[in-house]
């Protein structure tokens, strides 16, 4: 059976996703086709295994954390039917964080709050890569975990520990030996987050 992907997506759904994420109509249909091709079980939702089947993602040192970002804690019924599955809306919602910021000029009528791809939301996405237990603080252990994922076995524990300590020292302003979201934002204020955390979607 050929892929009838686009016919399973209704116009109302496309409109809703457009409003929520700011993607264009054609971008949504093409991303739906991609979603459908990743969904090997053909049940309208992606599981962690579906993501891990992508070789380039499997060899990415932060691959597991990125996959986690698609499965938010607590079941928000709009985005996940079960805890370990994400449907197309949830998929698009996460991808929306990576839309380039300039495109917002076209979509001024987005719903309340900031658009998903604002600088703050992009930073928050990155913050959650570090903050595994979602307590809005990056502890020393959490930082060490991410560092270990990125360097593999090539650096000793002591050296890694000192790197982590130094990073926390530089960032921590209120002395609780953890990095909160505002401290995180402060440290990265000189970084061009809009460019580094954006993907050029073609129409």
């Amino acid at each position: 059976m050929g892929s009838r992907a686009s016919s399973l997506l209704r116009e109302e759904d496309i409109e809703e996703i457009k409003k929520e994420t700011g993607f264009s109509h054609s971008q949504i249909t093409r991303l739906y086709s991609r979603f459908h091709s990743l969904d090997k079980g053909e049940n309208g939702a992606l599981s962690r295994e579906d993501f891990q089947r992508i070789p380039e993602l499997a060899i990415n040192p932060l691959g597991d954390r990125i996959i986690n970002a698609f499965f938010p804690e607590g079941t928000n019924k709009k985005y996940t039917a079960r805890e370990d599955q994400v449907n197309f809306r949830g998929f698009m919602r996460t991808l929306a964080h990576f839309r380039p910021v300039e495109d917002n000029e076209k979509n001024k009528d987005l719903t309340s709050g900031e658009p998903l791809n604002s600088r703050t939301n992009k930073l928050h996405f990155a913050f959650q890569l570090y903050d595994l237990d979602r307590d809005d603080k990056i502890s020393r252990d959490e930082l060490l975990q991410v560092l270990r994922m990125m360097v593999g076995v090539n650096i000793s524990d002591e050296q890694l520990g000192s790197i982590a300590d130094r990073t926390i020292q530089e960032a921590d302003t209120n002395g609780d030996m953890c990095i909160s979201f505002s401290e995180f934002t402060k440290v990265l204020e000189k970084v061009d987050v809009e460019q580094k955390m954006s993907i050029r979607f073609l129409h």
Binding site: L31, F125, L129, I155, V191
Partner: protein
């Protein structure tokens, strides 16, 4: 009632008898006899041209119909990428970050934004990656009147639907039975004749006859699939004592190559019909069949292959080094086993034209019988075969580099993308060594090359 029915019955029987005779005579004259002698009337090419015109008309109608109704026509995304990937490497990107930040002198400075690079690359690979695309069929730009490859199947116009309906009738009512008859004839002749040749004593006569029989039966099978094949550069055809390597898209590749030249096949012995064919083929000329248990033993495989190759009277070996079926848009990693043997390698590039029927066998989606049914009920199989000039392993080149060189030549000729990824990723997980390479690279940037080198 009795005497009233019998003249009617007689008439019916006579009609049936006549139609069968006519049918078989036509079959014989137009298909089987040319197959035996290797000539062609050109009917298939005429058929192909007509079909192309019909498809173009159908696509035009669909586009016009969609515009009238203001629908957006679904354009296959494989033709235009969804995203434009940044081509900066890890090193460039991290240097860029450090340049803009506070303390550039410190060597082991970690920045929280280092994670951004991996994060972005990860999301890019989720949206568009090189590998998973290779294991699903290519999407078409114009519609070829097969429901299985249509994404906009709404009732666009009644004329189109009628044409589609006509297509179904022709394909399933006329072409399919015709092809099945031919296929059965071809396979049956192969089994019977090779078994008969097996009784002859080894010698020139046997080889000659075996060659003729194999060619004839494969040509009948080619016609059974309505395959329209264009061979290029036949002067480079593989010779005895060599190894022929080709890219692999479907089991039909074997039939396509073997109908133009004689090869010794390599493979695992199956049971059932396949096994019967294999066992009878090997009676007429030496093919290399392995038992399932022997396949794992790489030394045994290599020894048998090199023994075969050393004997100049034996036919060239046909091998598909990718090890699995790829969807004919790219060429994946070649397994180095066949390149270690040290004989001349004759590369062959096979490119299918997907407009007439999708030849890629997606073994996870449907099994062999289903696949053959789809093949026989498509319009045709159109492909081009290029025989590339022979290659030898050079001084100082190891088997893997030689394999990559051959792969690049095949990809270039066939217009396919040359990928380094292993075809085994269709079913298995990717090796951790790739991830470890990235981690090592990042560590070097973080703490400097000296420290990392001393640890690994």
């Amino acid at each position: 009632m009795g005497p009233f029915m019998s003249p009617f019955n007689n008439l019916l029987c006579m009609l049936l008898g006549i139609s069968f005779t006519v049918w078989f005579t036509l079959l014989l004259v137009f298909i089987i006899v040319p197959a035996i002698f290797g000539v062609s009337f050109g009917i298939r090419r005429l058929y192909m041209k007509t079909l192309l015109k019909v498809f173009e008309w159908a696509t035009m109608r669909m586009e016009r119909g969609a515009k009238e109704k203001n629908h957006l026509l679904y354009k296959p995304c494989s033709l235009n990428s969804i995203i434009a990937k940044e081509s900066t490497s890890l090193e460039e990107e991290l240097k860029d970050i450090r340049r803009n930040c506070s303390s550039p002198e410190l060597d082991d400075s970690f920045d929280m934004s280092d994670a951004f690079y991996f994060c972005r690359r990860g999301i890019e690979s989720i949206v568009d990656d090189e590998v998973t695309k290779c294991f699903t069929a290519e999407e078409l730009e114009s519609w070829n009147l097969l429901t299985r490859s249509n994404y906009n199947f709404n009732h666009i116009s009644s004329r189109l639907t009628v044409l589609w309906g006509l297509g179904v009738v022709i394909r399933y009512g006329f072409l399919l039975p015709l092809r099945l008859t031919l296929a059965i004839t071809g396979v049956g002749l192969l089994v019977v004749l090779t078994a008969m040749i097996g009784f002859l004593p080894n010698g020139r006569m046997k080889n000659f006859l075996s060659e003729k029989v194999h060619l004839m039966c494969y040509r009948i099978c080619v016609r059974a699939l309505t395959a329209i094949i264009t061979y290029h550069h036949s002067e480079n055809k593989p010779k005895n004592g060599g190894i022929c390597v080709a890219n692999h898209t479907s089991p039909i590749d074997v039939i396509i190559l073997a109908s133009d030249g004689c090869y010794a096949m390599v493979g695992q012995i199956h049971g059932g019909l396949m096994g019967l064919i294999q066992r009878s083929m090997v009676k007429a000329c030496p093919h290399i069949w392995f038992e399932r248990s022997e396949v794992k033993d790489r030394h045994l495989v290599a020894k048998r292959l090199s023994d075969h190759v050393k004997d100049k009277s034996k036919l060239p070996i046909l091998i598909f080094p990718e090890g699995t079926c790829i969807n004919n848009t790219s060429v994946m990693m070649f397994k180095k086993g066949s390149f270690e043997i040290g004989s001349t390698v004759y590369p062959v590039a096979i490119k299918y034209d997907p407009r007439f029927g999708e030849a890629f066998w997606n073994s996870s989606q449907f099994g062999m019988m289903n696949y053959l049914l789809r093949m026989m009920s498509s319009w045709a199989i159109v492909c081009s075969v290029w025989y590339l000039p022979p290659m030898i392993r050079q001084e100082g080149e190891d088997a893997m580099q030689f394999a990559n060189r051959v792969k690049a030549a095949i990809a270039r000729q066939g217009g396919l993308v040359d990928l380094l990824w292993d075809g085994g990723l269709k079913r298995g997980k990717v090796k951790d060594t790739f991830k470890e390479e990235q981690q090592k690279l990042y560590s070097k940037i973080l703490v400097g090359t000296q420290e990392v080198r001393s640890r690994s």
